[in-house]
Amino acid sequence: MNCGHSLEILALFVEDDLPVAQAERIRNQIAGCSVCRQACEQLQASQSLIKARLKLPRHAVPNTESLADVRRRVVTRIQSERPLGWALQVERALTLSFRRHSYAFAGVVIGVVVSAALLGQVGRALPAAQFEGRYTLLRPDRYLEWVSVGSGVYVDPAGYAEYEKSGTFPERTVIVMKRTPSEAANDPHGDFSVSVKDSSRFEGGWGFFDLSGKSKAQVASSGTCQLCYKANA
């Protein structure tokens, strides 16, 4: 093009698809450019022909009966195929709920409460002391995360919290006593001993286990060590 306009730009110009300022600029420029003027005329002619020939005739659009048939087919298909699977049903329920703010707020509150309750249950479901049978204790594996109450002595958090409140260790309290090899040499309990308070299992309430180098151990003694424990705990 003499004016430097591409055919693509002129193709937009002839259908008023350009911003007003740009269209005005092109209009002024092509007024003095016969090549661009001719290109515009050809584009206008081709556009007119496209619209005239490719326009859908009236009779090409389906009649009322055909359209009613489409509706019937859709309804039948919806009824027979049940298009809403469980995933879409959940998505729809959530979408509709969150469109109503009060429902959304209630949903969030319920979600938080249920999650907290579940987490609480999970916490309770995994007691600090895990037994195999009635008197065999499995070695606690996360005792280092418990409350450290002295050199190598750890108390499970729930038991310690209750002890702080009431001054008494509650049922199912677990206390781990870990000794260094030199300390263990003079300690009859070995380098890793565990005390569990469980009145339903142990006479006197407490059971004592020597887990030195073991993954599980049977109760070593109960009741009789209570005084010793009270003196050292």
């Binding site: 055919l7 698809d17 584009l43 005739p57 090409a60 087919r73 729809r92 509709l96």
Partner: protein, 200 residues
């Protein structure tokens, strides 16, 4: 066109009614969904005919469009008009049908293109023949365009929708649509030039 009318009226009564029907349909009222179909079926079928060429294919496409609309009705933003969403679904369904048809044709005949739309039925036998030839040639030229350009020019020039509405339907920007439309217009002009050279 249909969407322009809706938009001109702003957040019109029609939009409010549509939103109400959508809500009722979502609450499980089948009559409300049928009413939605009744309101929009002509637009859907007409656009499908434009892309697919035959009434039968357009009706099949419309069935699929409304089935999908029912399935995903909850995803519709009720603050916006329903038409661009339905038209977008129509375009997507027609694209799928067109691709499948092309694969079938490639497999069995290898040379045919999409079906041609119904004739205009002119009264003058001679002009009718000429018009029909031109129409068939333009239809072929249109179908030889790249898919995105073909859809853009169909919506913009043949259906006469404003660029903004075409962009909304295609989930694209106005700039992209303008670019596709301009390229398509130039290609169509070149096809027409070829046709006229052939006549001389």
């Amino acid at each position: 066109m249909f969407m322009s009318r809706v938009r001109d009226a702003g957040p019109s009564l029609e939009n409010a009614e549509t939103a109400c029907l959508v809500q009722q349909a979502l609450n499980g009222d089948p009559a409300a969904f049928e009413c939605l179909m009744l309101r929009h079926e002509r637009q859907v079928v007409r656009l499908a005919m434009r892309f697919l060429g035959t009434t039968e294919d357009a009706q099949d496409a419309a069935q699929e469009v409304f089935f999908r609309a029912y399935k995903y009705l909850h995803r519709l933003d009720l603050q916006k008009p329903i038409e661009p969403w339905l038209m977008r679904t129509t375009v997507n369904v027609c694209r799928n049908i067109g691709r499948k048809r092309q694969q079938r044709l490639n497999t069995f005949s290898g040379s045919e293109t999409a079906a041609e739309p119904a004739t205009t039925g002119s009264c003058d036998p001679y002009s009718g023949v000429v018009e029909e030839e031109e129409r068939q040639m333009l239809w072929k030229a249109l179908n030889s365009l790249p898919e995105k350009e073909r859809i853009a020019i169909t919506l913009r020039d043949i259906e006469g929708l404003p660029t903004a509405e075409v962009a909304a339907i295609l989930d694209s920007s106005e700039t992209t649509v303008r670019s596709q439309v301009s390229r398509a217009r130039v290609r169509m002009k070149e096809a027409i030039d070829e046709m006229q050279k052939g006549k001389k």
